[in-house]
């Protein structure tokens, strides 16, 4: 297959010589650059869209998920290599183009998010490897005139029943003539040699020598740089503008009004930024005029005192509560995603088509918006997915793609559209703030009989996936509440949609990242109200042998829950869930001078059959560190409809000096593999809050915790 895109001229192709070669960007096998040293020959055997085997002995795995740091471009090739019986040292990857044959079935297109890559694509990639293997075996068996079932494979070779041996590389032409089998048998986990082991990242070398190409690094012929001056008030509009001073800055070429604001087009990024500063723009207020943090939470608190739309009901939730009744309410703050690479896209809009070079999690959605803006069919929009400097859900949006497409269309030239960090912090689809009102009833013995939550927040789904928003219900809003692992007979979760025009979006473990602060803090409060140990209290409500119970038992043992700690230290525990993955965490903290010091986070995690152990040991602490920034001090506040914070100086994130020790325990499950990028996020804030309570008896019910410690 050859992609009809003239990348040779348009892109820096990154090839790191040697075994384990990995490429910065997709390339076209069979095109001119394939003949260059270090580049693969045209593949001789392409049994399925995902596997390209070359006469050089190297196998290229085509990955249809965006590499955001989560290691999917290592994990999915591992799946192929496992079933195909080839060494990882002979494997490389490339990112697929956004074409239907590479679509991910769960997304009906190409998209990355929700920790869906592993559960959706690992079975597909294993099948692809098994298919290629069976075709190679069939080719060898035919040559040897033996039954294919009598042959085995090992280390890129087919082995016959009488000691025959054939290297895959010598079977490629014959295998290419074998019909693609209708069914294949996958290995059983006890036969795994690659899955469940530690494997080095295939993208590690270009990410340590500056050659990995991110969206911001793309350069195409005739390209100019652009940046858009946007209103400080989210949803504000341009009333009028004067570009005369901006146009005089050296290197500024054009100033154009686009839907998001005023685009300054220049010879380099700096000139575009300087041009923006010289613009005189009068802004017209939009729907967020006058909106502030106080106004948002005031409305949310009022709503939280009344019943909302029911998301879940179990048992009897109508009878008035008896026994020991406990109430509490919790609040979480707004947060920006703030991935390291500011939003950007390079777009070349022509009359007959569009090319996008973009660090995106949403290739198909990007094609749709570009097609609409440019007035071309979807098929005429080509997407080249670059490496992404973080994502966390932010790059599932298309706002930065739209900015580039509008600007290129208006300017008539290829445009690299760059956001500043300030644009990023102020124009984020934020992790939305929440207010949760909780009530529970317990028997005198401390058995929880009823648990009710009323949660208030803006809807991500109503904005981002409106067709899933039905009957006033956001089907994801209860995540972290409706799927509680605890065996409580009577449960109610209801929800109010907060109608604020400040956009909220998918942010690492969406909804669960805020709801779990409420649920796991409240369970802790119930344990203390019942006079019980918080771990024992939880275990009593978890089904024996179930994954959540197993991870809690394991982490309690590993962290030595209940054993004496150094003076001034305390433990806090919390559970977390994402999809089919479970985590339990124990935080060890102290409070020198009332300042939160986190010593150690110990976690047991069950993500089903692990793919790359080394990858899991990266992703779980990664999610926890992301959550630490959010739990401790990070916050976005609003004044007159705009974010008060602007950059990493006032939107605070964790630095190395505050990063604790991590102990990560991975359950060696053989159940279905699930994603690991998000499960580590939800439990962090409640574990810390529970530890603070254990240490000083202060129950902090609003995030970030630092604000609570100061009051």
């Amino acid at each position: 297959m050859t992609v009809a895109l003239d990348r040779k001229d348009f892109l820096r192709i990154v090839a790191i010589g040697g075994v384990g070669l990995s490429l910065g960007l997709e390339f076209a096998p069979g095109s001119a650059e394939a003949a260059a040293p270090g580049m693969p020959a045209a593949p001789a055997f392409v049994p399925v869209a995902w596997v390209e085997m070359g006469t050089d002995g190297l196998t290229t795995i085509v990955v249809n998920q965006t590499e955001l740091g989560q290691g999917i471009t290592t994990a999915l090739p591992m799946c192929v290599a496992e079933e195909l019986d080839i060494p990882m040292s002979s494997v490389r990857f490339r990112i697929s183009p956004a074409e239907p044959k590479y679509y991910n079935a769960v997304w009906h297109g190409i998209q990355t998010g929700g920790s869906r890559s592993t559960p959706s694509m690992s079975p597909v990639m294993r099948k692809a490897g098994a298919t290629a293997r069976l075709m190679l075996v069939t080719a060898a068996a035919t040559q040897w005139n033996v039954d294919p079932a009598a042959c085995t494979t090992s280390n890129a070779m087919v082995l016959g029943p009488s000691g025959q041996k054939a290297k895959y590389v010598d079977l490629l032409t014959a295998a290419a003539a074998v019909p693609v089998p209708a069914t294949v048998t996958l290995k059983t986990p006890e036969k795994f040699k690659i899955l469940g082991t530690r494997q080095g990242r295939l993208d590690v070398k270009p990410k340590t020598n500056g050659t990995a190409v991110y969206g911001l690094d793309v350069k195409v012929p005739g390209m100019k740089y652009a940046s858009i001056e946007k209103p400080l008030q989210i949803g504000g509009k341009v009333a009028s503008f004067d570009a005369s001073a901006a146009l005089k800055y050296p290197g500024v070429r054009q100033v154009i009004q686009v839907p998001a604001g005023i685009a300054v087009i220049a010879d380099n990024t700096w000139a575009a930024f300087q041009g923006r500063k010289l613009l005189k723009v009068t802004w017209a207020p939009g729907p967020n005029a006058g909106v502030s943090t106080d106004s948002i939470y005031s409305e949310a608190r009022t709503l939280s005192k009344t019943p909302g739309v029911v998301l879940k009901t179990t048992g009897d939730v109508a009878t008035p509560l008896t026994g020991k009744v406990v109430t509490a309410s919790y609040e979480t703050q707004y947060l920006a995603h703030a991935p390291m690479e500011p939003m950007n896209t390079t777009a070349d809009v022509r009359a007959d088509g569009v090319t996008l070079w973009t660090p995106t999690q949403a290739q198909t959605d990007s094609q749709k918006v570009a097609a609409k803006i440019a007035g071309v069919p979807l098929e005429a929009v080509k997407v080249v997915t670059t490496f992404c400097g973080g994502g966390f859900g932010r790059r599932g949006e298309t706002d930065f793609v739209e900015d580039a497409v509008y600007t290129s269309k208006a300017a008539g030239i290829p445009i690299k559209l760059v956001w500043t960090r300030e644009d990023d912090i102020r124009n984020d689809p934020y992790r939305g703030g929440t207010v949760s009102s909780m009530i529970a009833a317990m028997t005198p013995e401390g058995k929880v009989t009823t648990l009710k939550h009323t949660m208030v927040c803006s809807s991500i789904v109503a904005r981002a996936i409106p067709f899933l928003f039905k009957n006033g219900i956001d089907p994801l809003a209860g995540n972290g509440m409706t799927n509680t692992p605890y065996l409580i007979p009577n449960q109610l979760v209801d929800w109010h949609r907060l109608n604020v025009a400040i956009p909220v979006g998918f942010w690492r473990a969406p909804y669960a990242n805020s709801n779990t602060f409420a649920t796991e803090s409240f369970i802790d409060e119930l344990a203390h109200a019942a006079g019980k140990d918080p771990v024992a209290f939880r275990l009593a409500m978890l089904e024996a042998g179930s994954p959540p119970r197993v991870v809690l038992e394991r982490v309690a043992k590993l962290a030595k829950w209940g054993a004496p700690l150094p003076a001034g230290h305390a433990h806090g525990v919390a559970m977390g869930q994402w999809d089919d993955a479970w985590i339990a965490m124990v935080a060890e903290i102290s409070l020198p001078n009332n300042k939160l010091k986190i010593h150690k986070l110990t976690a047991s995690v069950d993500v089903g059959q692990p793919l790359n152990i080394d990858g899991l040991e990266q992703q779980v602490p990664s999610a926890m560190i992301y959550a630490l920034s959010a739990a401790i001090g990070g916050k976005i506040t609003f004044a007159d409809g705009g974010a008060v914070q602007k950059n990493f100086n006032d939107f605070t994130v964790l630095h190395m000096a505050d990063s604790p020790e991590f102990v990560i325990d991975i359950v060696r499950s053989t159940e279905k593999s699930t994603g690991a990028g998000e499960v580590g996020t939800p439990c962090v804030a409640p574990a810390l809050a529970n530890a603070i309570f254990a240490l000083k008896g202060q129950r902090i019910r609003a995030l970030p915790l630092n604000d609570g410690l100061l009051t």
Partner: protein
């Protein structure tokens, strides 16, 4: 006109004196390994060496780099003969998204050149570069193994 010496090569650039070195390196010289993260010297993604010292190039006007030896990630070591810090980074699979890593590596290399055997406290004080993927535990570990020559 500004004359810069980047990775041992002289470049004469037609840019304003106040243009930050970052943008001169990336957009004009064309070396994109050095990254833009914040523009206010808060994150360190833009870290390069100026006469061997780690500096945040996003706030350093090019005029202040004239006559100095500028080293970027591309010039830290030959691609087939990586710097000990890069070797340690690969051995420990440090990067995730990788975007901050050029800056992290340049900061770590400058630290080790100045202090070959840093303590944990030295590392914490010096390595203030932000990583949103949370690679901190592995960055610290890789610096130590590079210092010990065990990478």
């Amino acid at each position: 006109m500004v004359k810069l010496t980047v990775n041992g090569t002289d470049h004469v650039l037609d840019v304003p004196d106040e243009m930050p070195l970052l943008w001169a390196i990336r957009d004009v010289v064309g070396l994109t390994g050095t990254k833009f993260g914040c523009g206010i010297a808060a994150c360190g993604a833009c870290t390069v060496h100026l006469d061997g010292a780690a500096v945040r190039s996003c706030v350093l006007p090019v005029k202040n780099a004239v006559g100095k030896k500028i080293t970027t990630i591309e010039g830290l070591a030959p691609i087939d003969k990586p710097h000990p810090v890069q070797v340690a980074w690969v051995a420990q699979n440090v990067p995730q998204c990788g975007y901050c890593q050029s800056g992290q590596i340049m900061a770590a290399a400058a630290l080790l050149a100045h202090k070959p055997h840093p303590t944990d406290a030295d590392i914490d004080v010096t390595m203030t570069n932000i990583c949103r993927c949370g690679c901190y535990p592995r960055i610290k570990s890789a610096i130590k193994s590079a210092a010990a020559g065990v990478a």
